[in-house]
């Protein structure tokens, strides 16, 4: 069964984070939302494996604060 990689996997995390923010520079909220959506679709297609994608979706849905809790 395919696994979602959750151990450190990006060689230079600081540089990646910089780059991630840099593509949003000077974008409006709407433009940033659209870019994020495109990015998710591109990465999802790269991963392809439905089980891995489902695990990632589940993890994303389960983390972060919700309004009621």
């Amino acid at each position: 069964m395919a696994n979602l990689t959750l151990s450190r996997n990006i060689a230079d995390p600081d540089r990646f984070y910089d780059t991630l923010l840099a593509v949003h520079d000077e974008l409006s909220k709407d433009e940033s939302d659209a870019l994020n959506a495109r990015l998710i679709l591109i990465l999802a297609n790269h991963i392809g494996d439905e089980q891995v994608l489902n695990k990632a979706l589940h993890l994303a849905a389960q983390t972060g604060k919700t309004e009621d809790s």
Binding site: D33, A34, A37, R38, I40, L41, I42, N45
Partner: protein, 538 residues
């Protein structure tokens, strides 16, 4: 010239049943002479089952309504004897084009494969479709087939009993009663039969209005399905353009939820909208305007004792994907051979329950597909629209995003995977032709495979010998060789050197083997006709 939908095609005439002291009992009564009811009447009559169609009207439907008829529907029409006339009149198409804002982002081919008699789709006004079925039904009746259509016979009350159904019918000359051993309700999405029987019809309502305008114009747009997301002429909404015969073009514009329906239907509102879309200098004439909303829902069960529901009466979907009339024709295809067998005492009553199983499965598939299309076409939340637009933006340059573009997943016939009638499915044969699958057409000899199938069960053998002992009920045997019919052999035998298929009367695969085995064929036949319950499926 009078239009076809303005003319009584089956005018009311008094019938002896109306003067009978004791209500006359019929084998099968069908309520509704729309595409589904008429097709069912023809199918049953061709199988020798006497059938009476009751319709509250006496003519074909007004307005083009269902216009996209899929390949599978044409194949069913071939079986019913009117595939040629429909295909010749219809506009054949197989290309779709998708626009986002002002850009074309994507186009697709619906049948990217040769070797089929019928095209992926034809566009044909529903009134022509019904006209061809009425003419075929009347021709059959003239040849002595047990089929009648009674115009202006409106069913007012239904009494369901264990072995028959009682019907109270209103006519221009007053009421009368008949009984039916079996009743097929094909009376549409607002089915009075369903209401009279107090049956459920639950599902999801979509809060959106769509304007349909049929315009007559001389235009040189290609015969393709053009779909717009968020076009300049209908901002924030969708639009669809389709060609029909007689230079009639279907325009479908999403309007949103909070609108004044009556005002939007007025020509002074409709004409400027269309001019914005087609250009100021295009000359056209309005033939038909309608505003619709839709729901995705179905009855919990399609069979209720001796009453069977088919078509929109049983299930309703959004129009995206042309899954309404096309799925209704598949209901008929599935039901009629089973009902004929039960009426003729060749199969147990239980066989009718498999109609319920298989067509509920088909309806769920259609509802799922049409709900997904609706979600994509009319996003109902901000994030849904963000992802939708992201897919459309990417699709213009990135191949991977194109399959996600959902302007309607166009009707393909259902595969009855895990169906109760499915038998053996030999390993190593092509997956597309597994048990439960609808047959793929293929060239065979000088003609086509589907045209050569028998009216009942067929045994198809590829590069293997015919049996030397009689088969059940003298089923039709077809033989093919890879040397003469390579396309057929590729589709049915694939990598194997031979194959044998048992095919149902509705042209779905029942069971298959690499080699002929008389005992296995007989077992599969008994299972597919409900005479034994398949061990493979418990």
């Amino acid at each position: 010239m009078t239009k076809i939908f303005e003319r009584p095609l089956y005018p009311y005439t008094r019938h002896a049943d109306q003067d009978a002291v004791v209500p006359v009992r019929h084998k099968v009564v069908i309520i509704g002479a729309g595409p589904v009811g008429l097709a069912a009447a023809i199918d049953l009559a061709q199988r020798g089952v006497p059938v009476v169609v009751l319709d509250e009207n006496d003519r074909v439907s007004f307005g083009s309504r269902a216009i996209c008829f899929a390949k599978r529907t044409l194949e069913i029409l071939d079986r019913l004897g009117c595939g040629d006339v429909a295909t010749e009149k219809g506009v054949t198409w197989d290309q779709g084009r998708v626009f986002f804002d002002e850009r074309e982002i994507y186009n697709f081919h619906l049948l990217p494969e040769d070797g089929h008699k019928r095209p992926a789709f034809i566009n044909l006004q529903q009134y022509y479709f019904e006209q061809f079925l009425v003419e075929r039904a009347q021709a059959l009746a003239a040849e002595g087939a047990p089929l009648e259509i009674r115009g202006r016979n409106r069913v007012e009350a239904i009494g369901a009993h264990p072995d028959h159904v009682r019907l109270e019918i209103e006519t221009p000359e007053g009421p009368y009663e008949v009984q039916a051993e079996w009743l097929i309700a094909c009376d549409g999405a607002n089915s009075p039969t369903r209401r009279m029987m107090g049956l459920d019809f639950v599902g999801r309502i979509f809060e959106d209005n769509f304007l349909i305008a049929d315009v007559i114009m001389q235009a040189d747009f290609p015969t393709e399905r053009w779909f717009w997301f968020d076009p300049p002429f209908n901002r924030g909404q969708s639009a669809l353009l389709h060609k029909q015969p007689d230079n009639v073009w279907r325009i479908d514009l999403q309007l949103g939820w909070d609108i004044d329906r009556e005002a939007e239907k007025a020509p002074e509102r409709v004409i400027p909208r269309i001019k914005q879309m087609l250009g100021e200098d295009v000359e056209f004439e309005l033939e038909w305007v309608s505003i619709y909303t839709f729901q995705c829902r179905r009855m919990e069960r399609f069979r209720h004792g001796r009453v069977i529901f088919a078509g929109d009466a049983a299930h309703q979907v959004s129009p995206f994907g042309a899954r309404g009339a096309n799925s209704g024709l598949q209901d008929v295809d599935n039901l009629c051979w089973k009902l004929a067998r039960v009426i003729q005492g060749r199969s147990p009553n239980w066989l009718i329950d498999t109609y319920d199983f298989e067509r509920v499965y088909g309806a769920d598939e259609n509802i799922l597909n049409s709900t997904r299309s609706t979600e994509f076409i009319t996003p109902k939340s901000e994030i849904s629209r963000i992802f939708r637009d992201a897919v459309l933006d990417l699709a213009e340059t990135q191949e991977f995003a194109r399959p996600m573009v959902n302007s309607g997943r166009l009707s393909v016939p259902c595969r009855y995977d895990d169906g109760p009638l499915n038998g053996a499915g030999a390993e190593g044969l092509p997956a597309r032709m597994r048990p439960g699958a609808p047959l793929s057409d293929a060239p065979l000899g000088d003609g086509w495979l589907l045209d050569q199938l028998g009216p009942d069960f067929t045994l198809l053998a590829i590069d293997t010998d015919l049996p030397d002992r009689p088969l059940p009920e003298d089923m039709t045997c077809l033989q093919a060789t890879r040397a003469v019919s390579p396309v057929l052999a590729e589709r049915y035998a694939g990598e194997q050197s031979s194959a044998v298929y048992l095919i149902r009367p509705d042209q779905h695969v029942c069971a298959r083997w690499v080699q002929f085995d008389a005992a296995a064929v007989e077992a599969a036949f008994l299972q597919a006709t409900g005479q034994s319950r398949g061990e493979a499926h418990g």
